[in-house]
Every structure is written in C-alpha cells, then in structure tokens.
C-alpha cells in the first residue's frame, strides 16, 4: 500500500459500508443455506467454518512464526468449556433483561465466545511464556504435553462434568446458538484479524523469526514477546472455534479435545500450505469435507486418512499453496507478500 492517502472520515465510512455489506451478505447466505440445504450439509458447512478458524489461527503460530504447536486442542477445549459455562450462567440474566429471543441469544453467545477467547488466550499466554524458549521438536512435544494436561484437568473437574462432559443445566444440552451466520461472521473476523496481523510490521517480524531468529533478535525484534503474542492470539482463535463447536454440539467432553484433534488441525494447515492464510482456509474445508466423504469407508477411513497425510508429506510437504496466498480480490492485496 505505498502512498496510501490519509485515512479520512470517508474511508472509515467506506469500511463501515463494506462491513455492513459483508454482515448482511452472511446473513442472507445463512438464510439461503437454511432454506436450501439439508441439515447434514449445513452441519458440514458449520464444521468447515470452525475448521477454518482453527486452521487460520494455528497457522499464525505454526506457519507464519514457525513455532510448532501440536497441542492446540487444549486451547480449543478451554474456549469450548469457558464459552459453554459462561453462556449457561449468563443466559437467564440476559433473557430477563432483553427478553428471550434471537437478540438475547446473540448477546449471550458472543459475550460467552469473547470470554472463551479471552480465557484460552490467557491459557495460551501461560503455556507460551515458558514453552516458547524452546524450538522445533522440543516445543512441539511440550505443547503436546500442555494440551494433554489441559484435557486431563477438564477430565478431573467435577463442576464441568468430568469425563461425561459439560452439557449445561438442561438435559437437552447447550442451546444450539451456533448458526451459519455466527460461524461465518467469526470466520471473517478471525481471518481478517490474522491477515491484518500477518501483513503488518508485527507479521513481518513473526516471519523474520521463522526465517532466522538470531538475525531477528539482532534487528531489535523482541522475539519472545512476539512469539508469545502470536501464540496467545492463536490460542484465542482456537478458543473461539471451541466455543462455536460447543454450541454446535450442544455439549462437549474432554475426549473431544484429544491429541488427534490437534493432529487434525495440523493436517488442515499442512494440506493448504504452512504459512498461507488462504491455504489454511482451503485445508480447513478440505478436512471437514474429506472426512465426511470417506465415512462410507468405515474402518478403512482412518487408515486412508493417515495414509493421505504421509503421502502428502512425501509428495508435497509444502502443501497446496506453500507460503503463497491466493490473491482473492476480497483481500484487495497486491502481490506484496509473495
């Protein structure tokens, strides 16, 4: 964006208009999806969105910053439990104040999601500060360890249902807040946030850390702070995905956030290409769809899934896009980041 003009009121106005347009677009699309698609496909579309949030967020730390986390399911768990819990506690009060209905639900859900994101961000911070001094495999293993510990803690927390999981206070489970509109609105928000971070001074510095940490330090880059920041943001986005997931499922249990879940997330970003946001988007969709399509294969499904992973690593380890981005006009971006 060289020679960008001063941002005037007009520019902000344009942004507001575009944003409103996008929100309206998602809303309209949501209506269309609800009317036109069977619920099974709708669920897959929701899963795609949740996967995209997971993948784009994880990509910030694994792809852009080059710090490898294989325990992100733990942060997803924190977000899921926090969102669910807060939502349940908040709902009666908000319903009393605003009157039960879509508005109250939306307020409760999004406040809960934000709390979930905050708490998983805090968890990310707590994990990141000690761990991010490590590199490569060692960091990977430590994040795996933390991910498992987080899960074990939920597994042993009575107030959150232990192994049975948390379903709120009603037998019907958590309210199904998760709709096409909210999921994809959050997809847009998360993708925008991550994209704006990636293509900024901080993002450049994160890539510099990936490329050569010692040189980055010599350029006065506060590498630890940046890595921890990226890790925290990444954990927070996983938390949002967790919250959306919880309310899609109407309930969550520790088993939902096993090591395998972290692997799934890694597969998403590997398929698309580590370091590429659009790659992460593609990977997230790919995984949701492929796993569903392979369901007919029954017990061969996971064998094939693992085989696919191995073959991708051998044949095309850089994924579909490598670190490149698809230049979508949506991003209005010049070939700057290539």
């Amino acid at each position: 964006m060289p020679g960008h003009p001063q941002l005037g009121t007009k520019d902000w106005l344009i942004r507001v208009v575009i944003s409103s347009g996008v929100v309206a677009g998602i809303w309209g699309l949501g209506l269309g999806v609800q009317a036109g698609l069977i619920e099974y496909v709708q669920r897959i579309v929701l899963l795609c969105g949740i996967n995209i949030i997971l993948a784009v967020g994880l990509n910030l730390i694994n792809g852009t910053t080059g710090q490898f986390s294989i325990g992100h399911a733990g942060f997803m768990a924190v977000g899921a439990y926090a969102t669910a819990f807060v939502g349940v506690k908040l709902a009666p009060g908000v319903a009393a104040a605003l009157g039960a209905g879509a508005l109250a639900d939306g307020v409760v859900f999004n406040v809960a999601l934000l709390v979930g994101a905050l708490l998983s961000g805090v968890a990310g911070l707590a994990v990141g500060v000690p761990s991010l001094r490590l590199k490569g495999d060692y960091l990977a293993i430590v994040t795996l360890g933390f991910g498992e510990i987080i899960r074990l803690v939920f597994n042993n927390t009575k107030a959150l249902g232990s192994a049975t999981g948390y379903f709120g206070d009603s037998p019907a489970g958590l309210p199904p807040y998760t709709s096409f509109f909210w999921v994809w609105l959050w997809v847009v928000i998360v993708v925008l946030i991550v994209r704006n971070i990636t293509f900024s001074q901080s993002g450049r510095s994160l890539i510099a850390i990936r490329e050569d940490e010692i040189a980055a330090e010599a350029m006065a880059t506060p590498t630890t702070r940046l890595k921890v920041t990226a890790f925290t943001v990444s954990a927070a986005t996983a938390g949002i995905a967790g919250g959306l997931f919880a309310h899609m499922q109407s309930g969550i249990r520790p088993e939902d956030f096993k090591f395998e879940k972290s692997i799934d997330m890694i597969v998403m970003i590997i398929i698309g290409g580590l370091g590429s946001i659009s790659g992460a988007v593609i990977g997230g969709i790919f995984l949701a769809v492929t796993l569903e399509l392979m369901r007919d294969l029954q017990e061969y499904r996971l064998v094939l899934y693992a085989l696919l992973l191995v073959i991708i690593m051998i044949v095309r380890p850089e994924g579909l896009l490598g670190t490149r981005e698809l230049s979508l006009s949506f991003f209005k971006r010049k070939a700057g980041a290539k």
């Binding site: 941002l7 450049r204 890539i207 010599a218 350029m219 006065a220 670190t323």
Partner: protein
C-alpha cells in the same frame, strides 16, 4: 582517508577484560579495547582467534563469562540481543543471515520494529497510525536500498540475490535500526576486488555522511588497511597488538604469530588468499 583526531570524549564502545569460555575452552581471555565515536575500527586476527565471539558477546548473543561491555556510557554486559540492538548496536553476520523467503524490502522493514508505533490493535484495525508507520518504513527502506544499490531488487526474494548484494542488503537492514554503532562481520567475504573497493567507499560513507561508528572484522587486508583508523589484533582469544594500520603492520608480534616469517607484502597477500571463508554458491540446505 580522513584520520579522526583523538578526542578526550568517552569511547562509544568499551570492552573491559571480556572473557568467554566454551566448555572449558577459552574463546576470549580478557580482551579490552575502546572504540571512539565516529571511528572505523578494525578487529583482525587468524581464524578462530575469537573475533566473531567478541561480536557475539557485544551483541548479547553470548553472555560474557567475565569482564564488562560498555556502550555509550552504559554497562550492557549480558543484555539480550534485541535490547542491545534497540540501544543502538547493529550488526551483520559472518555467514549471511537474511530472512531468505522475504523480499529485499521486507528484510529491511523488519528492522523497523523498534521504531514502529502502531501496535497489534492498530495493525488489526488498519488505522491511520498503521498507515503512517507503513509509509514511513517504506520510505526509509527505499532510501537505504538506494544507498546500497538494491532499489531495483526491492521486490525480489532475498535468497535470489547474488552473494555480494546479499552482503550489502545485510548492511542496509542493519542501518534500518538507526544505530550508533555498526558491527560488520567479514563484509568483504565473497566479494571480488571491485565489489570490495565499492564496499570501502560505502563504509566511509556510513561514517562520513551518517555519522556512524563502525567496527569491522575482516580478512581482506587491503580493505582493513584502507578504511580502518585503528586496528585491534587478537590471537587465541587474546590481544596481541593495537594501533593505527601502519603501526600494526610492523608490530613484531603480529608479524610473528600472524603473518608468518615471510616478507610482509607477500604474507599479507598470502593471508588474504588463505583465510577467506569459502562459500560455494549457492549454499546447500544444511543438514544439522
């Protein structure tokens, strides 16, 4: 060559009996020297003499095991690298350390982190502060790339540049920090004589026009002798001589331990030939 007159001012960089030990092996054993502001200072010695280790101690990559490093009147011993860099010491590396997949321009812009004002939130919101930052960085990067004749290559990935240009890019990147002191680790390595002559000019430009102080580790003696006002010679981690080029050249200890017993010119020439690290271009991916 302009010889700066020694002033009574306090030195910009001062090492006081700095020591560094690696697993029992004394890499530097009590080296002291002082670099005056706006000086071009040479640090020479045979391979393994500890020159790069000294750089690494000064820039905080290694913690000193003894002694102190003072910079601009402040004790910076043991500071982390980013803090040292932010304080005003920039450096280049013996084996080029560019951000290889990033473009030339982005490489330079990375070093703007210290002065960037737009935080993460500004970046996310893409507000005015962020726009100003980006514009400012781009302007400064363009300036620096211009000085180092890299402007046309701004959009190229750094690792596609020829060797000599990569060396220059490293210096340009370091200057983006607006440092007071610049440490150059073998900037002439891999350059031919024309490039080396060009480098001499650029180093002088840094000092004369930008007011920088430069410390140079270099094996190319013609470069060292041409640009340095003061030379510090180390061998096996210890100081063996210090002084202006003319003096150092004739110092008996330097001649004996470093240049060998042959005639001086021959020895210098030979040294030049022998001690340049060799990089068969392009480097292979390393396997370790």
């Amino acid at each position: 060559m302009t010889r700066s007159v020694t002033t009574p001012r306090s030195p910009l960089l001062a090492l006081e009996k700095v020591e560094k030990i690696f697993g029992g092996l004394r890499a530097i054993g009590g080296v002291s020297f002082a670099v005056e502001p706006r000086q071009i200072f040479g640090l020479i010695g045979p391979n393994g003499a500890g020159k790069t280790t000294i750089f690494n101690v000064v820039t905080g990559v290694y913690q000193p095991d003894g002694g102190r490093v003072r910079f601009d009147g402040e004790d910076i011993s043991g500071w982390p690298p980013a803090k040292v860099a932010a304080r005003g010491i920039a450096r280049t590396f013996q084996n080029i350390r560019l951000f290889r997949s990033m473009t030339v321009e982005q490489n330079v812009m990375v070093a703007g982190f210290r002065i960037h004002k737009a935080g993460l939130l500004s970046a996310v919101l893409r507000n005015q502060r962020y726009m100003d930052d980006e514009r400012e960085f781009r302007r400064r990067a363009a300036e620096l790339l211009d000085i180092f004749k890299l402007k046309e290559l701004a959009a190229e990935p750094a690792d596609s540049l020829p060797y000599g240009s990569q060396r220059r890019l490293e210096i340009a990147r370091a200057l983006m920090l607006s440092p007071k002191l610049l440490l150059l680790d073998e900037p002439a390595a891999g350059m031919n004589s024309q490039e080396a002559a060009e480098l001499e000019k650029q180093i002088r430009f840094l000092r004369d026009e930008l007011g920088l102080t430069v410390v140079l580790v270099e094996h190319n003696m013609s470069v060292v002798m041409a640009v340095c006002e003061n030379i510090h010679v180390v061998d096996h981690g210890e100081t063996i001589a210090e002084g202006p080029p003319a003096l150092v050249k004739e110092h008996p200890k330097v001649l004996a331990a470093y240049l060998g017993e042959e005639s001086e010119e021959q020895a210098v020439a030979e040294y030049e030939a022998v001690s340049r690290p060799f990089h068969d271009k392009p480097p292979e991916p390393d396997h370790d």
